[in-house]
């Protein structure tokens, strides 16, 4: 049940136009930045940087365009659950697919050492 009461006038939070425009501008800058960086050789960092920018852009859209900044905790938990489950899928599926070619495990519990050394 809802706890907060609403008066006359609009239900829900009205975001000022200036905020929308700022967010929009940030998104455009982000897009330009990703594209520009793709043409610069950062070695192994190209993908992480591109994805970081994408995550920032997503966060902006979710918080402002989708009003999550003004939403209840429940909404946030729901969203986080979605990403958490996606992370489960990626992590555990990769735990097989990306370790198949690892050298066959040594005898007995000595395997923990090479196993751990692959992780770090």
């Amino acid at each position: 049940m809802s706890e907060h009461s609403e008066h006359d006038g609009p239900v829900g939070h009205v975001v000022p136009i200036s905020t929308y425009l700022l967010v929009f501008l940030a998104l455009i800058v982000g897009t330009a930045l990703t594209t520009w960086i793709a043409y610069i050789d950062l070695g192994r960092w190209n993908t992480p940087v591109a994805l970081t920018i994408a995550v920032v852009k997503m966060t902006l859209v979710v918080l402002f365009f989708m009003h999550v900044k003004y939403a209840t905790g429940l909404t946030r938990i729901v969203i986080l659950a979605g990403f958490f489950w996606l992370a489960i899928m990626v992590t555990l599926a990769s735990s097989d697919e990306l370790t198949r070619n690892w050298e066959i495990v040594p005898q007995g519990w000595n395997m923990i050492v090479p196993f751990a050394s692959r992780l770090f």
Binding site: M89, L92, A93, S95, D96, E97, I104
Partner: protein, 545 residues
């Protein structure tokens, strides 16, 4: 079934207007937005699918009486077990308790007029029926022979059967699950009656909430997986094809990401039902309410991280095998907690043995066996030997049939007076419960031994030394089959001829028993205000009102 339901309105249980006789005619049923009527629509559909899938099972067991196969060509046998698996898993077990009992009971139990989105609820049923039609069409027009697991490259490139039609049916039915789960989550969050706090909810609601989580988080993955499989089959290109660097095992990962949790879609609602039954028939508050409630949620979460135990022998990496094995053992613990708490609830109870209670106790026993034999399959070294044999078949039937179907029947018998306003003959109900229990054990216990002896599953013909156990299993299956027909007969009979039930025939607690049987269209004359915990059965200190 639907004919019989349509007849109901001619015999109103009491003089007042209820959801069954509020409006008349087929149209009023097909366009209903009442969660109770939608529950009954699901009941009719899933019952039909159950007997289609069950028919396939009976034919399979008859075929296996002889080592060389008594009845069919191998191809036909393969289609039979595929049909059995696909229909039973996707079109009966998954929607059974959630979509029938869940739909009927959730608003009643939390004190709401309806689910949050009644139109969406009706739409889910139509989506489900569409899925059923695709599956039935494919079955009738030649069938499918991939098994319910659809493993490529067999399903994508080698099978000559109606894979795409069936996969499409499952895909469509998946959306029905998603919409139902979504509806339930929002209903449980937003539609509870005043005073119905989370820790006052009946445990069936907790179980349904956990189930809905799996619906919402798992089903989209099977949808996209089957979508990719269909594309691969139609276009002859795709990501599961090793010829272009793809990986058939990736399909298995994505498939089991849904299909392992799907096992808990089947068993969690059953656990919820049993929590209701055991408390009602022993007149006791549940032992360890919060432990039972949280074990439902933790089962839902853990169920998503154990899927790799289906793949210990498929060429999954040793490392992943170790991770998945460890996680798989985890899921045993909340299940054990539940079993112990149910048993402890009986302590000092006032236990009576009407049919629903017999089903519930049967559930606890069979689920215990089903759960414990799961340990053999979580353990890597024994799984290597048992994977892909009849041991697996026996294990998951103990969980899904001995567990979930027993609970479903128990729940059906428990709430039948509420649903129809009529009582059924208890003698027959107990007889059927007994017969199902015996038939079930005779069917599936020998399969544990068969599996350990090394008989692989999905064999149309088998070496002669396995015959004795197979014949025992087939004999059990015929008892089981008759056992399932008996309730169909007397429950249908009771809809017209059963004595009126009254609002609370069992003396049970819970909001659904405070309204008339059958309930009025909007469930309650006035939205109730909840002031006490669930299962607050009167004790000697507190005189019964």
């Amino acid at each position: 079934m639907s004919m019989a339901i349509a007849d109901l309105h001619e015999a109103p249980a009491d003089s007042s207007v209820n959801y069954l006789n509020a409006t008349y005619g087929i149209r009023s049923w097909l366009l209903t937005k009442d969660h109770k009527r939608i529950g009954l629509l699901y009941l009719a559909t899933t019952t039909l699918m159950f007997f289609v899938g069950g028919g396939a099972a009976v034919l399979m067991r008859l075929h296996l009486i002889e080592p060389q196969g008594a009845l069919f060509e191998p191809e036909t046998y393969n289609k039979l077990f595929s049909t059995h698996g696909i229909i039973m898993v996707f079109f009966f077990m998954v929607p059974s308790i959630p979509a029938t009992l869940g739909n009927f009971l959730i608003p009643l139990m939390i004190g709401a007029r309806d689910v949050a989105f009644p139109k969406l609820n009706l739409l889910s049923w139509y989506v489900f029926v569409t899925g059923c039609i695709f599956a039935l069409y494919a079955t009738l027009s030649g069938g499918v022979d991939t098994g319910w697991t659809f493993y490529p490259p067999y399903s994508s490139s080698f099978s000559h059967t109606h894979v795409v039609a069936v996969a499409l049916g499952v895909f469509i039915a998946g959306f029905s699950s998603i919409l139902t789960g979504l509806n339930f989550i929002v209903t449980i969050h937003k539609m509870r009656a005043p005073g119905m706090r989370w820790f006052r909810l009946p445990l069936f609601i907790w179980a349904m909430y956990a189930t809905s989580l799996i619906f919402v988080l798992g089903t989209p993955v099977i949808a996209i997986t089957l979508f990719l499989l269909g594309l691969e089959r139609i276009l002859h290109v795709g990501i599961f094809d090793p010829a272009v660097g793809g990986d058939p095992l990736l399909f298995q990962h994505l498939f089991w990401f849904y299909s392992h949790p799907a096992v808990y879609i089947m068993i969690l609602p059953g656990m919820g039902v049993v929590s209701e039954l055991i408390t009602a028939f022993s007149r006791k508050k549940i032992f360890g309410y919060s432990f039972v409630a949280f074990s439902s949620l933790s089962i839902a979460v853990i169920s998503f991280v154990v899927w790799g135990h289906h793949m210990f022998v498929t060429g999954q990496s040793v490392y992943a095998g170790l991770v998945f094995s460890a996680l798989s053992f985890l899921v045993a613990i909340p299940s054990a907690v539940k079993v112990f708490n149910w048993t402890a609830t009986l302590y000092k109870g006032s236990i009576s043995y009407e049919a629903p209670m017999l089903y519930a106790l049967g559930f606890v026993g069979l689920f215990t066996i089903g759960g414990l034999t799961g340990l053999f399959l979580a353990a890597l070294a024994t799984d290597v030997h048992l994977n892909g044999t009849y041991f697996i078949v026996a294990h998951f039937h103990y969980v899904m049939v001995g567990g979930a179907v027993m609970a479903y029947l128990g729940g059906m018998h428990f709430w039948w007076p509420k649903i129809t306003g009529r009582l059924y003959p208890d003698y027959w109900a107990r007889f059927a419960a007994f017969m199902i229990f015996v038939g079930f054990n005779l069917t599936f216990f020998p399969q544990f031994v068969l599996g350990y002896l090394g008989m692989p599953r999905r064999y149309a013909v088998y070496p002669a030394e396995f015959q004795v156990l197979n014949v025992m299993s087939s004999a059990g299956a015929s008892i089981l089959g008759v056992g399932y027909l008996i309730p169909l007969i007397y429950l249908t009979w009771s809809m017209r001829y059963g004595p009126p039930a009254g609002p609370n025939p069992w003396g049970a607690k819970g909001l659904e028993w405070t309204t008339s049987s059958p309930p009025p269209t909007e469930n309650f004359k006035e939205i109730p205000i909840v002031t006490e915990d669930a299962y607050n059965y009167p004790t000697p200190e507190v005189p019964r009102v």
